[in-house]
């Protein structure tokens, strides 16, 4: 049973949407070392997926995206191992964050600890009405080690991030939406359809615009306003050396939907 016990992270491409599925039946998709390695090789390959315009990360089984890192794995750590695994996971999540395409995480059920930290590295978090999100690490005598303590405040503000991390409590979908932690909530019955439909709406957008918007906003937030404005100006100018601007503006003036094709 080793294969099943260790879980899997797989991906498939459907209509230009890359779908990453986290699966570990009976264990709420808790992330093992093997699963992290599989996630890493998928994310490392993103740049070469020419046809993929949007990435969706989802959990199998309808109970969780992922209920965090495997606790057995965590319990076995010495401090030096913990540093190594944290760095390993952080690199994967930085890869998600800097991917040149929109990345959506779809949360139906639990997204806890490392599971929520994966979401926080994504551009959009879509939740089902049954979503439960939290960073419970302080209840285990540790702290979020995969970027959660840095990315959660950037998403919900430092006050709410401290409250969630200090208490370790689980936040339900509606509250998560109200605090800006998730971007939209859909009924559980239609969740998968809604997620794919949202992803499909992004497939029709200009890939150049999406990539430039993502890099300009994220890099700009680490810079001064003036340096950020300079980044934006260069990105705006760069648009006019790419075919998407010509197609997008022409389509608008001709009152038809744009068709942004592969280069």
């Amino acid at each position: 049973m080793t294969g099943t016990d260790e879980g899997t992270v797989t991906y498939a491409i459907r209509d230009r949407i890359g779908v990453v599925t986290i699966s570990r039946p009976g264990r709420l998709n808790a992330l093992s070392r093997k699963m992290l390695e599989e996630l890493r090789s998928i994310i490392d390959g993103i740049e070469s997926w020419e046809k993929v315009r949007v990435l969706v990360i989802r959990g199998d089984g309808g109970e969780a995206l992922a209920a965090g890192a495997d606790l057995k794995l965590l319990a076995s750590f010495k401090s030096s191992d913990a540093r190594e695994v944290s760095l390993y996971a952080q690199k994967i999540l930085s890869g998600i964050e800097s991917a040149p395409i929109p990345v959506i995480s779809a949360v139906d059920g639990f997204a806890l600890g490392g599971g929520l930290e994966i979401c926080l590295a994504c551009d959009l978090i879509l939740a089902s009405t049954e979503a439960k999100l939290g960073l419970p690490e302080t209840n285990l005598g540790i702290i979020p080690g995969w970027g959660g303590s840095i990315r959660l405040p950037r998403r919900v503000g430092i006050g709410r991030a401290k409250e969630m991390i200090f208490s370790g409590r689980t936040v339900e979908a509606q509250e998560a939406y109200e605090m800006g932690l998730v971007d939209a909530v859909f009924p559980r019955e239609s969740f998968e359809v809604e997620v794919m439909s949202y992803a499909a709406s992004l497939v029709r957008k200009s890939p150049a615009s999406l990539a430039l918007a993502k890099s300009t906003v994220l890099r700009g937030m680490d810079a001064s306003l003036e340096a950020g404005l300079a980044l934006e100006r260069e990105a705006f100018a760069y648009c006019f050396s790419l075919p998407d601007a010509r197609e997008g503006i022409t389509a608008f003036l001709e009152k038809r939907p744009p068709r942004f094709e592969e280069d």
Binding site: S206, A213, C239, L242
Partner: protein, 231 residues
Amino acid sequence: MPLPGPSNRISGLSATTFTTDRGRGWVVIRLFAPDGLNKLGTGTLETLRDKIRDLVSRSGLQCLALVGEGGSFAAGADLREIFRLNPASARAFSDLGNSIFRSLANSSAVVVAGIDGICLGGGLDLALSADWRLATDRSVLGHPGSDLGLITGFGGTQRLSRLIGERKTLALLMSAERISAEQAYGYGLVQEVCGQDEFETRLKETVQRFASFPGDHIAEMKRRFLDLGYP
């Protein structure tokens, strides 16, 4: 590729009119273009730049409001003009917008954007360079760049992310969604929402309130926020 549509004319000075109301310590600039869209082409921006430069250099101005008339605050750049840009002229166009919006952000007066209707793209960037956004409940706000193969070039990616956070900004930029004034209020994007029929009254109250504040304090506060990196 030929330019689509019947007109190659770049909308400019003649298309948009500006009117100005004044009171004690305040000025309201109103934009109106016959098509009701108040597009921000080069000509319009140059006129706006000169007007703003003139106003902010005067002492005693405590509140400057910008209002779009005819159903739009401003519907963004003129796409017929944008269509002709190359990277070099795009940079110059971005610099023109940025220089105006920077002078608003750096002005010692409180800058109010009075938004009644369409506020998109460069128009939203203009509103974002104000200190206070008052919007009527029929207003729609958004950045359509991802439908146009563009990103905005007048500071919106930076000011919006500093105002409402990088993640909500990315969601708005990527989806090209047009949000209502009420949603914008929920995001913290506008500070005040009112019905269309009370717009002029609320605008006047807001402008007079800011004009009655101790001027030095406002200027000092704006400077401190800017020093801290807030737009």
